[in-house]
Symmetry: C2
Subunit: 249 residues, 2 copies
Amino acid sequence: MKLAAANPCPRHEPAALAHTLPQDCAHCAVRELAVCTALSGPELERLSAIAVSRQYASGDTLFRAEDSAAMVGTVVRGTIKTYKLLADGRQQIVGFLFPGDFVGSPTQDTHHVFAEALTPVELCVFPFSAVQRLIREMPSLEHRLLAVAHEDLELAQDWMLLLGRKTAQERLATFLLMLVNKASIRGIGGPLELPMNRGEIADYLGLTIETVSRQFSKLKKAGLIRIDDSHAVAIIHADRLAEIAEGTA
Amino acid sequence: MKLAAANPCPRHEPAALAHTLPQDCAHCAVRELAVCTALSGPELERLSAIAVSRQYASGDTLFRAEDSAAMVGTVVRGTIKTYKLLADGRQQIVGFLFPGDFVGSPTQDTHHVFAEALTPVELCVFPFSAVQRLIREMPSLEHRLLAVAHEDLELAQDWMLLLGRKTAQERLATFLLMLVNKASIRGIGGPLELPMNRGEIADYLGLTIETVSRQFSKLKKAGLIRIDDSHAVAIIHADRLAEIAEGTA
DNA sequence: CGAACTGTTGAATAAGGTCAAACCAGGTGG
DNA sequence: CCACCTGGTTTGACCTTATTCAACAGTTCG
């Protein structure tokens, strides 16, 4: 069961820290999805004032576990993975973050996960201390953050069920449906774009690359999905997939 | 990998709903541990006014996933498990709650886990609607709830690493150290009291009863723990256990 | 005492992991 | 343009870990 003792992170290291730009939250593409929804008029302007846009290249590390001076922000474009590591390099991805998702914990001054860009990423960053101040002054912001934290906790618990009790097949089915669901929230239909590779799917599902690949093949052979290329999958029978995901099949 | 298709819950069903008593938060045994720490003087009195003590017998179900009218409260005495179920009865425990721990989600009006008393439990219950009002009026309470939610999320992510990437031996070692740690926070030393049985440990660690039992025997044989009886374990070499838990051994 | 649990241990089995080879782009450079 | 390399992916053969199945021991409680 010891995996990947090698290779914690093949991609590059922290960017030479990309350009930063002031923000205009009122015209932000992901406003309705993000924590910022909670705010209106004057509050939104105060948030604008402290927000900074930052760009990351694919493979950049945004922060590492144990890093202090926690950063928080909203994903505007691209995909991020957050993960935990064991000493020997075994990796467990604890979340994929898409546009609108919130990154970081505004109540903890130390990160407890690693975060890495899977694609080019645009992040709307809020300085940690400024956010802490804003939280105290804007109850609706804190309210929203509390709701988001509880949603995240619920997702994490769903994933504990997956990791502790589901078969490889059930895990992949659950994963694909989760992605479809997230995409549809962002108004995206059609074939799924998978911004992560097989190894990252494996590290999210608690499996190996080979097992993930085999399960993809199995679902394809069963006619439940169509694989256009390894990063694009069409769901053909969402209902059958859902049965598999819930262990009802 | 299909487990426990039988027996979702051998114990009794929801209590005929035990006596309820008004509370005196100022003299509460778990105040410093609970969310209530955040409050002082007049605020604490307002909390007292809505708090109600409720007793549960071992095996009682406090609430079920999908239940609406979410209850929230603080554990005063005893141990609770929260868990998720698959259609065929496979169970994943997502948390054991001890005195001082907070139960339920004050921002979600529907439960998404089941909760069951493992021992006789005394719970300090706050009516859902009253809590929602209090949150809006007492920023320090919401602040504390946000911090607790983030701590819970961090724990859940640690557990995802355990379920996705650790061996059976590493899982049990991690579990025992986690219990030692929780006990010491409550000022409890000496041999560990395990309020849960082997099946519940298995359902927390994503293993089977037999595997858990075998790993206990192995740790005993290696001289790392002493098993007084199946519900009382002494940790002999916490350092060696920690190495195993982190995969450093 | 005997039934019903809970926990432990052993032997057989299966699911998923490991190792290894082949495949298949997409890029590079002659 | 094409040969070659590289990294990700797929597939096969084999192996390990944990599960399954089964027997048995210790407790608790009618």
